[in-house]
Symmetry: C2
Subunit: 253 residues, 2 copies
DNA sequence: TGCACTAGCCTGTATATACAACCTGTCCGC
DNA sequence: GCGGACAGGTTGTATATACAGGCTAGTGCA
């Protein structure tokens, strides 16, 4: 084997992907079994197994023990948006991130917050309002509630230097998140804090974050419609494209 | 080995994940080498290799040949939104999808479309305007341009039965997509077609789709702000959560 | 005819072995 | 003192082998 050649399992994967792409193999078609691939390509069964296993993980094929391997149905159009930490995004563009803490307080959860965080009404929470700026232009109005029990020293943090999200991660790795994106009209305080024109819409991201098996933080993130874009790049499972290609972009000025 | 036990490589993965979760292993810490794992757990090196390789794919650890394996840095907050085919989404909710084709025409690409599709100005494209409805309520205004060379029989399709996206997939599997989400105010025709109130914002998804190595379609998808939400659920790489958990949801009425 | 069993293929996992490529620290010669 | 060669550990890949367990079709018996 040529030293500079791609690994065999990778070559085999690309061979199958090529046949799927150009129509030689269509959805539901049977893919040669591992032993057939051993016979036709000369690799060992373990190598064929690895290739097919990775194609399974990547969504190209489906396998049934005892039956065979089949080309997966097209997942028609499933596109992905990646939403990154605001400070990281800004840094990634080489811009400077600053933040202004408008308010920080310990509160009792009202009905809406309690419902979002899955706790009893009246549970102690910290309430933060922060405006994030990119090169001085306001880009995100963060209205966040943090479960006090999870982050007891939350109010002592310097949120001009560390985002609440980063502080939460530092306490315990974030397990998962749910978020909802909507277009809304900002209320007056949000509009003024983001220095938006009247009649301009906001992109609103509502995000619920889990850690240690329970929701620990709920945030409403408002972004000015004219200056903010969520961008995502999607490649089908296994195109071996770096995850880092997904970016979130801001149009500033 | 007990017949009913989980595979050994899986047990080993969970062991490492547990140590990362509870803080025994912290980001940048060194993870035992494959040979050390062989010694401490009794599995073969190939089994340890598979476990660590999958942990790498799933983002828990990073490996450097010749050096070792290290716990990956927390990707602070990287959240994902999955955007699915509109007809699938509606069907998934058990609602009925209908579509109205407002216009279909062969055109020459103007500067903006040509730029988006990376072709020369004047290239032949098909232009479709379709309103998608969920249980009768307009939910998406689709303004799409399709490269004529890629889908020559595009204008003959019955787009009340098959979405343009599905038709494109049928020609050739879609390779990748770029999309940008923004909050905007609709122009008059869009507002009327979506039966929106004046002053109500739109969620605008601009999507560029690749197939066979080149962009083949560019679409602007407008959604009424008050009735539409993009929802995403995110779990860190390797939580073994089904991809299907990610949903896009519409609040209807 | 109908049913149970089995042969044979398939995937899934586990192991031992081997070699290549990569990285780092050390030792030796200049 | 400096630099290069080298040893030893690490990951990455490839193979042969083995056995378990799932599924199907066909055989053969009642």
């Amino acid at each position: 084997m040529n030293v500079h050649a791609k690994p065999r399992y990778q070559q085999l994967k690309e061979l199958i992907i090529e046949q799927i792409s150009n129509g030689d193999l269509r959805p539901r078609d049977r893919v040669p079994s591992e032993n057939e691939l051993v016979g036709s390509t000369g690799v060992s069964r373990m190598t064929a197994n690895r290739a097919m296993r990775e194609l399974t993980d990547e969504g190209y094929v489906e396998r049934v023990a005892g039956v065979g391997t089949f080309v997966a149905d097209l997942k028609a159009a499933s596109h992905v948006l990646e939403v990154r930490n605001i400070a990281d995004e800004i840094a990634h563009r080489g811009h400077t991130h600053t933040a202004v803490v408008l308010s920080r307080a310990a509160e009792r959860a009202d009905a809406e917050v309690a419902n979002a965080l899955r706790v009893e009404e009246g549970e102690k929470v910290f309430h933060l309002v922060i405006v994030h700026k990119e090169n001085g232009a306001p880009i995100q109005h963060e209205n966040r509630y943090v479960l006090a029990a999870f982050a007891p020293d939350c109010l002592e943090q310097d949120f001009t230097r560390i985002t609440p999200s980063a502080h939460l991660s530092a306490i315990s790795p974030l397990q998962e998140a749910e978020q909802i994106v909507q277009a809304v009209m900002p209320d007056r305080p949000v509009r003024k804090n983001l220095q938006m024109n009247e009649g301009e819409p906001c992109l609103l991201v509502r995000r619920l974050t889990w850690a240690q098996g329970r929701p620990v933080s709920f945030a409403r993130l408002y972004h000015p419609g004219e200056r903010f874009e969520l961008a995502g790049r999607y490649a089908p499972p296994g195109m071996r494209r770096s995850r880092r290609d997904s970016i979130t972009k801001v149009e500033s000025e």
